[in-house]
Subunit: 323 residues, 2 copies
């Protein structure tokens, strides 16, 4: 997958906007990251603040790499939540406060003076893990991002698949228990009500109070705390039930698990795999492997970079691919 | 999609083996059906009887069309149930008694002296409805076959998608109620325990006795019988819950419903659509249309023919495509 281009082909700017962070990476077409920035926030990001942070961090990485804005070949950007291609707007399942209906691509593009390709964060994870991580060389895989929400990204026959209108992969709204808690999507017992970070904290609130963070829960679970361990295991089992449905429907070769819960390791993955074995049809369960992602916190921003590199490799004329 | 070839390009033989029927169709590469045969059975077909019937009906259609065996360009064959590409065997979710582990393609191929391409019945429905039926011109669609089992076939970006090992589309084992009835797959509350033909008859047995057939239930429901109508509506609602998951995961533009239950018409489709609207995320529910299939009982056999025609159009050298 590596392409070697002279510097004149430009650079790829990747942007990852999360609920409480912005990450930016600049790479060239030989797949070398030239500069990176991260900024975390204590409270969920409003759109204006996110746009301001993105433009500032973009200027910093360009400056560090001594690259002019004119050299940006393309900008990829990830946001948490479904993106509707037809309307160009962030979909109703999006996790960013105040972003619903905002044309994020146009807004960021206006600020940076370059076109922006927007993508859902889980789809970016599928792309980066398939290009540089646990999914290298696998044609049919599902990437799961388990964080504030739960999303899936699909690589089918070697290509990302986003559905007819771009919102494929909303595994977080798979119903696990039709008599379960109400979900923000209007349904009951969706995976997100059982296995997202807020769901895990809510499940522990009755016994631990409300001051735990997900980092606390992960640390305590790893240290052997039975309640925190059980909450992680329950989340793993619920995710496994949804993954079993994905295995029945799409028969993937590989499921890669990433996101905030990944540091739980086998505490999460073992019950997840057990649920897949128990609940998917036998052949689909046998065909699939469930593995942790390899790219960690850089998964999404590298996916945003990959969006541009991919497009560059497709679109640049062959003459320019000489080193 | 129409290709015009001279007769020398050969003919396509399509075979549809169901639980209680065999259907065979012979077509040329101008998409004209030359001859067709149907044979129904009172009891589920054993593999030896199916193979015998297939070879006999194949000889009859060749005879009627005055075509020699040597002119068969390819044979497509549909069976109900998952097919595992890697092992070549009929998978564990298959509905044919005594067929598990049988290499059906090799067996039929041996009998007819030509290679056989095997495909799951729901995948064939997706192919034929997309080529000649309700799915013409639609790039991303899901075909649902609701019959003795419930299966799905996917067309993604204009091409059939069968997963890494060929068993994609097993929507019948989507869990609708984790506290529901035991399913033959080993899970509980799968769609097939709520919406297949046997499930509908079982749901009515307490009040109507055990002598009803699905044809009886459909006829009574259409005549206004409230119990039979309710059983069909409940099945529609359960199917809709699984379709909502497919919409969330794959964001199709179109869902085509076919199979034995289709004659129920709006009695089935209206509650199915209502469940999709209520349970899928808003944008995915808005993006999709749920429509009845157009090819009726010929859906599967035409899909088996389409398998060969498709491959012929891909593989024949351009020089032979002149009329």
């Amino acid at each position: 997958v590596r392409v070697a281009l002279h510097r004149g082909a430009g650079v790829a700017l990747g942007i990852d906007v999360g609920r409480r962070h912005v990450r930016v990476a600049l790479a060239d077409f030989s797949h070398t990251v030239l500069a990176e920035r991260y900024r975390g926030f204590a409270v969920p990001l409003e759109s204006a603040q996110a746009i301001d942070t993105v433009t500032r961090l973009a200027a910093e990485v360009l400056d560090e790499a001594a690259v002019g804005e004119a050299e940006i070949a393309g900008i990829g950007m990830g946001v948490p939540g479904a993106l509707h291609r037809v309307s160009g707007a962030v979909g109703d399942a999006t996790l960013l406060p105040g972003w619903e209906g905002v044309d994020v691509a146009a807004t960021i593009s206006g600020a940076l003076g370059r076109p922006v390709e927007l993508e859902n964060d889980a789809n970016l994870g599928a792309l980066s893990e398939s290009m540089w991580g646990a999914g290298r060389g696998v044609e049919d895989l599902t990437y799961l991002k388990v964080a504030t929400g739960v999303g899936a990204g699909f690589i089918l026959r070697g290509h990302p698949y986003q559905g007819a209108c771009g919102t494929a992969g909303e595994i977080g709204h798979t119903v696990i228990d039709p008599r379960g808690a109400v979900c923000r999507c209007g349904n009951r017992g969706c995976l997100e009500t059982m296995a997202s970070s807020p769901a895990i904290l809510a499940a522990l609130a009755a016994s631990y109070g409300e001051q735990l963070s997900i980092a606390d829960v992960l640390a305590r679970a790893r240290a052997g705390d039975p309640g925190c361990g059980r909450a992680i295991a329950d989340a793993g089992q619920a995710i496994g039930a949804a993954v079993a449905t994905v295995c029945n429907l799409l028969n993937p070769r590989l499921v890669i698990v990433g996101g905030d819960l990944l540091p739980a390791g086998e505490l999460l993955l073992e019950p997840l795999r057990a649920a897949v074995r128990e609940q998917a049809i036998r052949s689909a369960a046998t065909d699939v492997q469930v593995v942790p992602g390899e790219l960690g916190e850089r998964t999404d921003v590298l996916g945003a970079v990959a969006l541009v590199l991919r497009r560059g490799a497709e679109l640049l004329p062959p003459a320019r691919t000489a080193v």
